[in-house]
Amino acid sequence: MKKTEQHQPAQKRSSVTRRDFVKKTTAVGAVVAAGAFLGGKPPAYAQSRKLHYLQWSSFIPDADTEIRRQAEEFTKATGVEVTVEMINQNDMTPRITAAIESGKGADVMLLINNQPHLFANGLDDHGSLMGELAGGDIYDWANGAVVVDGVARAVPLFNIGNAIVYRKDVFDELGLAAPNTWDEYLAVGTALKNANLPVGQTLGHTFGDAPSFAYPLLWSFGGMEVDESGKVVVDSPETHQALAFCKEFWEAACDPGGLAWDDTSNNRAFLGQTIGATLNGASIYFVARRKFPDLADKLAHVNNPEGPGGRYHVIGPRSPAIMSYSEEKDAAADFIRFMFQDDNFSQFISVNSGYVQGLTPKWESHPVWSSDPALGIFSTNAKYGRSYGHAGPWNRASGEAAEKYIVVDMFARAVQGEDPKAIAAWAQKELENVYN
């Protein structure tokens, strides 16, 4: 018996030792390589390994090309074969859920907004990576998006800003000035609609443009989902006012088709010259500049209008995250380091032509912002940025409320003629169901 007992650990040790050896040598290799990495060189791995990276398919095709280029460079330098998969943003959340539940899937995923809160239990601890890459410089709101109960669950990489893109030539023709307040936007929109080029805005169930329009409208009238303590306070006179205004604005200024639009519809409508203004990222301008240069010369951007409660934009970082189940965490961390590397990220900002912003102040002076006067405005987004669940803290519930489109549907109901007070009471009940 004793002999057997003595033997077992020995056998165990010998079989594990081999694995341990590989693990340890890889870890040591990674540490050594990380040292070299700081000098701008990715580490080289001794054996062929595979990494799966999943992200959204960007509205800027060049951005996807650049990510693929970075992945290829990373493979060349490290020997780690990177599979880059790009899918529709609307399909990302279910993919992440399925991956975490099954413990299988991509090693690194690009999360959006407060998804690190939603999926905290399936994400690795990114504390050291966060300290190394973002340091203390990162904007507070971006920090809040990824830090869950004191632990960083992803590293925020960039934000996609938005602004109202409008037809400057039509504005000039009609004697209109860029709107500064919601009332001015109402007047401008009315004139545009009379000229058969209405404002185009979606209030459908789609992840980007619908909440980007609805939340700031609510906030700028002083309404909010929850107060700072997290109590649901949406049923307020301010919300009623925002809903009543939206109905008036929709009827007088907007393309009624917006109720069924997804995130690509306003891009198509604007480029198809059926609308005269729309809140969007820089993607419309980007495509126009490349495919319809004459139209691009006629475009200009302006920030969201100001209301009695201020001026706001929805912000939400895109943050690569290493999944807990990944067996390639070291390589995954190195791939994230590679994306954050100054030359790579600078190139990423450049190819996006103003569509994305960095999340530390040093990127505010990136040459892209001065390269084209039409784009400068996107760099100011962070100043007006608020996240879903404002004025409460970032958490899982605000993500669930957004996923259920409760705030978007408040406005969709308002423009269909329902009573603002009844709508706000409905939203209060639904939000309490989510938050409590």
Binding site: T206, R396, A412
Partner: protein, 323 residues
């Protein structure tokens, strides 16, 4: 003692053969693989689903037991009640259309005409094409700005043609035609339309198979009695096709009730949850919001309704069998 020792012990193989000669044992043995498959692929996920619906499971956690807490929350939510109502409405209307139009199409296809076989095969196309692909085509046809329906309407409108004394205006301005997926009632109608379009061939071909089993001499006898076409349909065709029809309709109710792809692609439950179905809501809650406990509860809510439909079908078939 010696005699006992010399009696040969039956070998394992012999004992096995003897056991398998017993029909009861053989029955269980033959059933075992199927039972195993059912246990692994149906019973286990089902029990897991029931368990999840009774927990506060969030993605990535195991969740703790909360009894009927998820169901309480669901019944307090208008979004859930809207989705439940939409599902019943969607299933009822779509099934009625599919059954009536399917029967009509089957009767037409049952006639003898040129290229009958090719036509019958072609009718199946909507059922064969992957739903995701065909629904994407419908999405484009319903597009708010570039809908082919609306462009046709606008084109007709611009011709200033008169219909029923109404002369159509030339310029629609910003108005681009009906909001197929933007107007709440039109959105539901559009989703039903696509479901009917996709499901109709299944009804038609199944009914056609049923029609072809009806002996022609029954129609000859009805002709001799001077029955009209409608009477022949009502008194000969319908009673004889009823067992097939019940099975097809029940099967369709189950599939339609749990439909997901159409709504997910066309509207994602919008506008304003007016096209949300239980399946899309379960997906939104469980997979989208990571609230797996509630998502499982929504999905399980479909169970009693579907179970009732299936029990009715079994009862009916058994009754018909006894007859």
């Amino acid at each position: 003692m010696q005699t006992q020792q010399t009696a040969p012990e039956p070998s394992l193989r012999e004992r096995l053969v003897t056991a398998l000669e017993n029909q009861r044992v053989l029955g269980y043995v033959l059933m075992a693989p199927a039972l195993l498959l059912i246990l692994i692929f149906i019973a286990y996920p089902f029990v897991l689903g029931v368990w999840m619906s009774l927990t506060d499971k969030i993605v990535g956690t195991s969740g703790t037991f909360i009894g009927l807490g998820n169901y309480d929350k669901l019944f307090a939510s208008d979004i859930f009640l809207t989705a439940a109502w939409n599902t019943v409405f969607f299933t009822t209307i779509a099934t009625i259309f599919k059954a009536v139009l399917g029967m009509w199409l089957a009767v037409l296809l049952n006639r003898k005409f040129r290229f009958a076989n090719i036509t019958r095969a072609t009718v199946l196309l909507p059922f064969i094409v992957p739903t995701v692909l065909s629904t994407l085509a419908w999405l484009w046809m319903f597009d708010a700005t570039f809908s082919v329906f609306n462009w046709t309407l606008r084109w007709l409108w611009q011709m200033e043609i008169g219909i029923f004394g109404l002369v159509l205006k030339e310029n629609w301005g910003f108005f681009r035609g009906p909001l197929w997926l933007g107007d709440p009632s039109l959105a539901m109608a559009s989703v039903i339309l696509v479901n009917v379009w996709r499901g109709l061939p299944f009804f038609a071909i199944s009914f056609l198979a049923g029609l072809q089993t009806i002996p022609p001499d029954l129609y000859d006898a009805a002709d001799i009695d001077g029955a009209s076409g409608w009477k022949k349909f009502w008194h000969v065709t319908l009673p004889l096709i009823k067992p097939v029809a019940i099975v097809v309709i029940v099967f369709s109710i189950v599939v339609t009730f749990a439909d997901f792809q159409l709504v997910y692609i066309l509207t994602r439950g919008g506008p304003n949850n007016e096209t949300h179905l239980l399946a899309t809501l379960a997906y939104q809650l469980g997979m989208g919001s990571g609230n797996i406990g509630q998502g499982a509860a929504v999905a399980l809510f479909m169970l009693p309704i579907l179970a009732f439909v299936i029990i009715f079908q079994l009862w009916y078939l058994r009754r018909e069998g006894v007859r």
